[in-house]
Symmetry: C2
Subunit: 350 residues, 2 copies
């Protein structure tokens, strides 16, 4: 369970935005600046670029001089093709010794000029979509420390955001906690992780075990969920991640107005209550003490006057803290965890 089994990035970052003029496509860069401002040294923009991360503009030379560790591709280029100007820039950055970090579909390792430059300088080429080699099969053996996993009634329903917000709230409450990323954007924000949905099927649970290894007894890993147990395409990923994470606690992510699986509209979404029951039932296999500790709801499609009524009713029905993390943060969930889970031995103090 060495950390060499995880993708592991070298900050601070110079974020390549290129000539992007639509912030939608720069969400990786924006996410890193939002959640990890201390890791970002600057941005690299070409003339005409209309997106601004609000950090200093910087050339490769300036980045090297100020001790930058990695050039990070912070945009998804439209159409998936990468302009030659970008490749030249990556080659120059690699020559100068910067790691290149990419979540592009095109592999860095397939560009001979960038590979040669990196080999000569010793820089690393890191494709965050590529899982590390040598992942083991899951053992199911209990690990020291505590774990909380964000799960969802659907995909793309706030599991990454909730994990980041929960991690922040735990840190603010003085809890020793680590964000554990399982997707490419999460890995770029968190600086390390494993792209769990790109792992070979036999090793999903094993990858989750490697991702959150033994730790101090009072420590919390906040693990970014993937997929959904109720998703007809991705449930296997979610179950392997649930089993391997052995979470002591989980938070259900939901959308107040979504009624069917996004993109798979022939499937209805489960209720929050069904979602809780299913995760308890399956999660108990590798952690009999698993608890649901809160519900994170995207309420953006509700009117302001409906929002608090919705959350109050859900909270009354489930007995759990219910928050919209963008508006309320995750402090209420941290309080619930503190009340109901004392340490990895689960001595209830509630």
């Amino acid at each position: 369970m060495s950390s060499s089994n995880r993708v592991d990035l070298k900050p601070p970052y110079l974020i390549l935005i290129g000539e992007e003029d639509d912030a939608t496509y720069a969400k990786t860069g924006l996410g890193i600046v939002q959640w990890r401002p201390g890791q970002v040294a600057g941005q690299l923009r070409f003339p005409g670029c209309r997106v601004d991360l609000g950090v200093p503009d910087m050339t490769i030379d300036e980045a090297v001089q100020s001790g930058v560790g990695s050039l990070l591709i912070g945009v998804a280029p439209v159409g998936g093709t990468v302009p030659q100007q970008w490749w030249t820039l990556m080659e120059n950055a690699a020559s100068a010794g910067l790691d290149i970090v990419s979540g592009l579909h095109l592999k860095l390792a397939d560009n001979p000029a960038v590979v040669a430059a990196a080999r000569q300088s010793g820089a690393r080429l890191i494709d965050v979509r590529t899982p590390p080699a040598g992942l083991p099969v899951g053992t199911g053996i209990k690990r020291i420390g505590n774990r909380v996993l964000t799960v969802g009634s659907d995909c793309a329903i706030g599991k990454k955001y909730t994990a980041l917000a929960l991690h922040e709230a735990m840190c603010n409450a003085g809890i020793n906690a680590t964000f554990r990323a399982t997707g490419q954007t999460g890995i770029m924000i968190g600086g390390e992780g494993i792209p769990i949905d790109a792992v070979v099927a036999d090793f999903i649970a094993g990858a989750a075990e490697v991702l959150s290894p033994d730790n101090d007894a009072g420590h919390w890993d906040v693990i970014e969920g993937q997929g959904s147990l109720f998703h007809p395409g991705y449930a296997g990923v979610s179950l392997g991640l649930l089993h391997g994470s052995q979470p002591d606690a989980f938070v259900v992510c939901h959308d107040a107005t979504r009624t069917s699986v996004s993109g798979w509209e022939h499937y209805e979404l489960p209720s929050v209550e069904e979602c809780i029951e299913q995760h308890l039932s399956l999660g108990r296999r590798t952690n009999p003490e698993i608890l649901c500790v809160g519900i994170s709801v995207n309420t953006s499609e509700l009117r302001a006057d409906q929002r608090s009524a919705y959350l109050s009713e859900l909270s009354a029905n489930t007995g759990l803290p219910c928050v919209d993390p963008l508006i309320d943060g995750c402090g209420a969930i941290v309080s619930y965890i503190k009340q109901h889970i004392q340490d990895e031995n689960h001595e209830s103090s509630g």
Copy 2:
């Protein structure tokens, strides 16, 4: 969903046994002769070989003359390394135009001489551990025809054997049925399939959909299960296969005396009843009509006088046919299916 997405072998086969003297290591070859004798033209043995599949000994030249399609590696060499003599033989066979079919850990594509020989003749090099490229994400859309999946309370508990025996019993009963292989030995026996546990996590359910495509309304796919929903390492594979297969029916495979997960002894096995309930609960997500249609039990560790009492009691408790397929065959399960599932529309005739 074209068949090019599946591994697809070219019979008849010449089976390479080499110098093996322990039948345990020749179980792939023995399995093919047991279940598909009509596909086997002969065996290729080196001097001193003490395993005999009971089919004609044949050289590469003789195989070519008699119309053999593939040289199939029927043994797992001790220690995983392949003697040079085997590589020379594979090169000769590929030169002569025979496909080479291997489940070895070493990849055929990594041997330049074999690759060159195959390229020159047009023969295919087929590693049955390697999933086909271009698998889709699962759609969850209902397909025409019927499907039965073998599932297990554990790994290595008879799922492949049960699927083969059930397929045979269905054919004997005049049902139009196809065996769908999901593991390397099953693929070699069945002649096609997808090694589901080697698929990238995001595509498990999609691979299962490709494996059992739309078919005639009265047709049955008999799908080989993998892993177990209760296995701390492999449950993700099993759930993806369950969702993607959308089985109308499933058979639970169990061992009468096993009490813990084999190799993971810190995990107790579920009861047969728990196993049925869990598969019904999760399987309903993609096929609300899913039914358990029987239990296949390995009773080899029971005394003869305990055996029938065990099966009778299990049958009384569950209301399902319970068989040891090695002794009883799967005819009772086929009868139950005929009584309870009329066609893909599930009009009960019971």
